[in-house]
């Protein structure tokens, strides 16, 4: 009895929520309410608790199904103009059956985390999010009616929206749990999670975009196939990102360095804009923050801040983007950890010995929750950027000239026929 009581208090909201799901939305292998009831008395009356009952059958069933990767060319083909109801249906069919499998796997991954880590409120929040997402999408994987597609796409949109802040939240959670888990295990978990998340979002967003395109008969964006832009101009995107980051910088520091873009500024290639946008924003945040902090540290504030130089190159197989700053570089000791999650050079307010300074905490908060997202301090910008870069076979190289600045080289392959067989 005590056991069940404590058990419930540890996972209160999970069970409460669980019990509130009506049976009608689930395939009735077993009524959930009775399952719930069984759990509370299981340990009391049964000598051998029905252990398998505790572990959600459905999750395990789905999680154990193999993932059917979709190739990039299929994804593109789903949306290749002219967009027909048929190709849309194929895409929907694929998404419906595939997404629950991938979501279930994510849930499973959470379940294998150490207990103490899993109870961290941030991590638990994301866990629940995935669980709910799975639950809400799962019914669509059995049979369909013609109107389902639209409804499904709306559900997906909602999901994508709610999952938007997963990574920052997870990162915060793991930061707090630093002492409970080996950093390699954390890294492995996060790598997996993020890699899978990219794939899930890709499928979901592609579907959403295609539905929207079909609905609105929108043929204005000829260059877009779902979320893939066949004529993405990196120079333009760089400008947008650097303007955005400059604003953040002004907000935090009152100044921002100039950005110079040169090279093949007219080049275009096929890529997914949101990915590149994310990578560029992270890198530019680092570059601008470093430039300002380094200049201030040297007491070098008055002359104009050294600019950030971005060069774009259109090569035979890939597009290269080089971001060059004079932000002082990365110290050697730090270089090894630069790609680790939750490694950050932003000092924590709690570690600050100066209680009289009320602004340190604020500065940190400002950076972490500035308009439009955190500027810095959560420690996952670089590993995430690198993962995005590598997702489609690209590469990410950081050169640190300690005492001077950093050069970051981003190489992205054109998403074209040569990548047709790349599996998502």
């Amino acid at each position: 009895m005590n056991f069940a009581f404590t058990f419930r208090s540890v996972w209160p909201r999970y069970y409460i929520h669980h019990a509130s799901i009506t049976t009608s939305t689930l395939s009735p292998t077993r009524s959930k309410t009775t399952l719930f009831a069984k759990r509370t008395i299981a340990t009391k009356t049964h000598e051998k608790p029905a252990a398998h009952a505790f572990y959600d059958d459905k999750i395990v069933t789905y999680a154990n199904r193999p993932i059917r990767p979709v190739t990039l060319s299929q994804l593109v083909r789903f949306g290749q103009p002219p967009l027909t109801k048929e190709s849309l249906r194929d895409c929907a069919q694929y998404a419906r059956t595939e997404l629950p499998v991938r979501l279930a796997r994510r849930v499973r991954a959470f379940q294998t985390l150490p207990f103490i880590v899993g109870t961290n409120p941030y991590i638990k929040e994301i866990y629940k999010l995935y669980y709910e997402s799975f639950e809400s999408l799962e019914p669509y994987s059995h049979g369909r009616s013609p109107n389902d597609d639209l409804e499904y796409s709306e559900k997906l949109e909602d999901l994508v929206d709610r999952h938007a802040d997963n990574i920052p939240t997870l990162a915060r959670g793991f930061l707090e749990c630093k002492q409970y888990m080996h950093s390699q295990d954390v890294a492995a978990f996060l790598d997996d999670m993020i890699h899978a998340r990219i794939g899930i979002r890709l499928i979901a967003e592609q579907m959403i975009a295609l539905v929207r395109q079909e609905q609105t008969g929108d043929t204005n964006n000829n260059s877009y196939i779902g979320i893939i832009d066949t004529q993405l101009n990196p120079a333009k995107l760089v400008k947008q990102c650097s303007d955005f980051v400059a604003e953040l910088c002004e907000f935090n520091y009152g100044a921002s360095p100039e950005t110079i873009i040169d090279g093949h500024t007219d080049a275009t290639f096929t890529y997914i804009p949101v990915h590149l946008e994310y990578i560029l924003t992270e890198l530019l945040k680092n570059a601008q923050r470093a430039t300002i902090e380094f200049a201030r540290k040297r007491g070098d504030d008055s002359p104009p801040l050294p600019p950030i130089q971005i060069t774009i190159s259109h090569g035979q197989e890939d597009i290269s983007i080089r971001i060059r700053d004079q932000g002082g570089g990365v110290a050697e000791d730090d270089l090894n950890q630069v790609f680790e999650y939750s490694y950050t050079t932003v000092s924590k307010a709690s570690e600050d010995e100066d209680p009289s300074s009320i602004f340190t905490g604020m500065a940190e908060m400002a950076m972490q929750s500035g308009i439009g997202g955190p500027l810095a301090g959560l420690g996952f910008g670089l590993p995430l950027a690198r993962m995005y870069a590598r997702y489609f076979g690209g590469s990410f190289t950081l050169v640190s000239m300690n005492g001077y600045g950093c050069d970051v080289f981003l190489k992205l392959k054109h998403i074209d026929q040569s990548m047709a067989e790349l599996e998502i």
């Binding site: 090279g263 093949h264 060069t311 774009i312 190159s313 259109h314 090569g315 035979q316 197989e317 890939d318 290269s320 080089r322 570089g329 050697e332 270089l335 090894n336 630069v338 790609f339 190289t397 950081l398 050169v399 640190s400 000239m401 300690n402 005492g403 001077y404 050069d407 080289f409 190489k411």
Partner: protein, 410 residues
């Protein structure tokens, strides 16, 4: 006869640091000179014996290649010659020893071309990684032996000059002066650079980064001009820094990188429209960094992946070695050797890493290339003489070696 090597192979090499080399130079007296002589006398056979052992471990088909075989024989001769030298107790004995050193140095001049030719002929019989490691270790050891030998020769010569200037008598007759000033070893006058060093030091106590780069630029432009080709401008920025290094080595490295940049820039742009090459110098407490940034069009992945390799290049490049019988891998040779030999980059890497530095090249296909060289500043790094045995796992350090492979590129 191989048994003779066993004793030596068992011994570990005793690496020395630039600082120590300098110390000998500064505080020179007879005692120290003889100490230096004996250190070299004992050290060289040990190092050579390690190389011999590595040769012996090569696959049979490679070891019997005539070029490789001839280098192997040269090594044996050198080993034999040097191990028989008795302990040196007088200046006269030192002179004899110096002659032996010169002999060895000269006979080894053919090593690089022959090795490279041999390797290129055997390419299909041996794993390319293995070959790269073998060549890297061999060349690294070669650099180390030459540094020791040349430094000792310089010291000896310096001592003689000091002695002869302090005493009013004419120079002692035991010096074999002609061979000392043999131009194949070091010849400050043949270089187009003006060196204001009076002594024949091979180790400069302080190189100014900016000056080094400026001199290399001049040299590269002179060579371009000799070919009647317009050369691109070079802009040097960043703050100058001083560091301790062997001038010849750093010169070689920077010159190689610059000449590559020149060549590619010229090849991809019209004569009037050459984009400048930007060299940035910076430093921190521990290192000096050079960045050479060009717009020479970059390299596709296929070439980039082979950049540092000895054995995976197209045959055509190494074929040029047939016409080059001797190579000391010094910058002064560029006056005579004008065809690209294909060994500039791997050799630069040997020179850089020898004292614990680092060289990295990153390219942007379609635009240009950036080369980064990091040199430790104060010369307290010991020589990098790892790879006791190439056949063992790569990267395994010999115990006791403070091998620092600090990275600055991730």
């Amino acid at each position: 006869m191989n048994l003779v090597t066993y004793d030596y192979v068992q011994q570990k090499t005793t690496p020395i640091s630039l600082r120590q080399l300098l110390f000998f130079e500064r505080q020179l007296n007879t005692d120290r000179l003889l100490k230096s002589a004996n250190y070299v006398r004992q050290e060289l056979p040990v190092r050579i014996s390690h190389r011999i052992r590595e040769f012996q471990k090569l696959p049979f088909i490679v070891g019997t290649n005539p070029h490789i075989q001839s280098v192997y024989d040269i090594y044996w001769q050198a080993f034999d010659r040097l191990r028989k030298v008795p302990p040196i107790r007088t200046l006269e004995e030192n002179d004899l020893f110096c002659n032996k050193l010169i002999e060895s140095l000269e006979s080894h001049m053919v090593a690089i071309p022959r090795l490279v030719l041999g390797i290129s002929e055997c390419e299909q019989h041996i794993d390319p990684d293995r070959i790269d490691r073998f060549m890297h270790a061999t060349l690294r050891s070669r650099v180390s032996r030459r540094v020791l030998s040349e430094q000792h020769l310089a010291l000896s010569q310096q001592w003689k000059r000091i002695q002869s200037s302090s005493s009013s008598s004419s120079s002692p007759s035991s010096i074999t002066s002609p061979s000392f000033s043999s131009s194949t070893i070091y010849d400050p006058t043949s270089s187009t650079m003006s060196r204001n060093k009076a002594s024949h030091d091979t180790v400069f106590s302080s190189c100014s980064a900016r000056d080094t780069v400026a001199q290399c630029v001049e040299l590269a432009r002179a060579h371009s001009a000799a070919d009647n080709v317009q050369s691109p401008n070079v802009i040097i920025d960043g703050q100058d820094a001083e560091f301790t290094f062997i001038f010849d080595h750093i010169e070689y490295i920077i010159y190689q990188l610059l000449s590559n940049s020149f060549r590619h820039t010229i090849a991809t742009h019209s004569q009037n429209n050459l984009p400048p090459i930007k060299v940035t110098i910076c430093s921190n407490e521990a290192d000096v960094l050079f960045r050479i940034s060009d717009q020479g069009g970059g390299m596709p992945a296929s070439i980039y992946n082979q950049l540092w390799s000895y054995g995976q290049r197209p045959h055509a490049r190494f074929g040029n070695f047939r016409n080059v019988s001797q190579l000391a891998a010094r910058i002064t040779e560029h006056d005579q050797v004008t065809v690209p030999l294909g060994i500039g980059l791997p050799m630069s890497r040997v020179y850089t890493e020898y004292w614990g530095g680092d060289i990295n090249i990153v390219t942007m296909d379609g635009w240009g290339t950036d080369a980064y060289v990091r040199i430790p500043r104060f010369g307290t790094q010991l020589e990098n003489l790892d790879f006791v045995s190439v056949s063992e796992e790569e990267g395994r350090e010999d115990e006791g070696w403070p091998m620092s492979h600090r990275r600055f590129v991730v």
